[in-house]
């Protein structure tokens, strides 16, 4: 059973929001005692996803949750936007694929950095990406 | 009038406890080496008290009832600690099953003239205690898993020592299979040691790795790339002939990595990168 211990959200509207968002995630990660490598992976993943929101949807929201399951605790981040959505998720999850001007590492790279990765998208309505990183994962 | 099981239990707590202890003590699987009889008695008494307190005539058929929380709590603690102390599953299981026997014995004594009721109550008690037994096993296994988990962590810690073999040269002998979690530990230890010692060359020795498949190779390549990002060079040594064969057969490209057959030749290479030379001492020559 996954339990949510705390919740916090912030909105993403401009480029300058990337750094505060990373800091917020980092703070929470430090608070639950996550190791430096996992911290860095999680914050980097968050950075990639926030950037995706800004690049493709202009604005969106990040939900930061501390969760626990049995003896493990971790952080779950939910990135939602009301942007154009992704037509072919399988294609977007391939290494090297990008519609924007980037290396195309964003989504598949982010997936490798976290323990759980889930993406839901409807064309014309928006995208929701949920990632979870366990403290010792 | 039907016999009240809770009343019966409350009134005969000490008889039940004595009967149970007797059964445990006479059982051949008794582990008096792991636990004193006094401890056993305290533990058993606690459980009997909790059971007598929470069992009612209604909830005897409702194992999920929250009335039994205290019993569950005690059972979990006992089986968890037994798992850590090294009791076998049989010994732990017998603990709760002998309680069942003692209970049935008690019922038999009290209800000998009413076989129908005896049968019904025994059935109910059977079901309840079987459920307690299952729970005991579940927590026992969880306790064992904890032990295994801790040992796994310890093993992965001790099996990845990073040794400074020369000023500026680190060596990391990898023993055992390299999976993704192992790779993480190896990488973290190695990179941290590079920072701590300011070493610019790391030798990764894989003589102790039983097999290199494409996944292991990928992990090795990752480690080498991460070392490079830090600004240090990484040499892979200890490549046995059969590993060289599989690597080529699998089409794994190691051409961007410096590979050496032995740790000695890797060290030699590291020396030449540092522009060091090992010379035999002059005085020793004169001795001949």
């Amino acid at each position: 059973m996954l339990m949510t211990l705390s919740k916090d959200s912030m909105s993403i509207t401009r480029e300058q929001d990337v750094v505060p968002c990373r800091n917020r995630v980092k703070e929470v990660a430090v608070k639950i005692g996550m190791g430096i490598v996992n911290q860095t992976k999680l914050v980097t993943a968050a950075s990639e996803l926030v950037r995706n929101i800004l690049r493709y949807a202009d604005s969106g929201e990040v939900l930061i949750e501390v969760v626990s399951k049995g003896r493990e605790s971790g952080i779950r981040l939910t990135f939602s936007d009301k942007g154009p959505g992704i037509a072919d998720i399988n294609l977007a999850m391939q290494d090297g694929y990008s519609t924007g001007r980037s290396l195309g590492l964003g989504l598949p790279g982010t997936k490798r950095l976290v323990n759980e990765f889930d993406i839901k998208s409807t064309v014309g309505q928006g995208t929701v990406v949920t990632i979870l990183k366990w403290k010792n994962g | 009038m039907a016999t009240s099981i809770s009343q019966l239990l409350k009134n005969n707590k000490s008889t039940l406890l004595d009967g149970w202890i007797q059964k445990q003590l006479t059982n051949e699987s008794l582990r008096d080496d792991l636990m004193t009889n006094d401890e056993l008695r305290t533990q058993s008494e606690e459980l009997v008290n909790a059971l007598a307190k929470s069992l009612t005539d209604e909830n005897i058929t409702q194992v999920d009832s929250s009335d039994f929380d205290e019993v569950f709590e005690i059972l979990s603690t006992i089986s968890m600690s037994r798992a850590r102390q090294g009791f076998s599953p049989r010994e732990t299981g017998l603990y709760i099953f002998s309680l069942k026997e003692a209970l049935i014995d008690l019922l038999q004594q009290k209800l000998s003239e009413n076989p129908t009721e005896l049968f019904e109550l025994s059935q109910k008690l059977n079901r309840l205690l079987d459920n307690f037994g299952v729970l005991t096993f579940e927590t026992f296994i969880k306790g064992r898993e904890d032990v295994i988990l801790r040992q796994t962590e310890e093993i992965s810690d001790i099996s990845t020592p990073v040794i400074q073999i020369w000023d500026g040269i680190l060596a990391l002998p990898i023993i055992g299979t390299l999976d993704s979690s192992r790779t993480q530990v190896v990488m973290e230890n190695l990179l941290q040691k590079i920072v701590d010692t300011g070493s610019s060359i790391a030798i990764l020795d894989i003589s102790g790795v039983p097999a290199v498949d494409s996944l292991v190779a990928q992990h090795l390549i990752k480690t080498v790339s991460a070392t490079r990002l830090m600004g240090a060079d990484c040499i892979i040594s200890g490549i046995r002939p059969e590993i060289a064969q599989t690597v080529v057969h699998l089409g794994i490209d190691l051409s961007n990595i410096i590979t050496k057959a032995t740790m000695a030749s890797a060290l030699k290479h590291a020396f030449s990168m540092h522009r060091l030379a090992v010379k035999r001492h002059e005085t020793e020559k004169k001795g001949f």
Binding site: S47, L105, G109 | S225, L229
Partner: protein, 132 residues
Amino acid sequence: MDKIPILRMGPFLLVTIQIDLYDRLALNLETDLINMVHKTGARGVLIDISAVSIVDSFMGRILGNIASMTRVLDAETVVVGMQPAVAITLIELGLSLHGVHTALDVERGMALLQTKHSLDDEMAGDDADDTE
């Protein structure tokens, strides 16, 4: 607006990144650095990222771009002081920064640039002599 200072040390340029970069700042750094290389005719660029705790694919791309761009202008780029956690994350992300030179710290980075620089000079001075 924040600006990342670029220091000149002989034939080389030194940049120390002390804060977490947001995109505009990173892009400005790229432009400033390339302009500076062009203006001063620097032969090497040293970027110290020891204080940077996060390098995502965007930052990684900027670093790669700077290296490629300076190379076109005949200058080498060395990135120094990357933290272990950052290196592991970049590899997992799939960015190995091929084409970017790396060194453990500023001192070794400078030494690396120095060797590359003197190697270049030797090659220019005596084409027939193969020093490799």
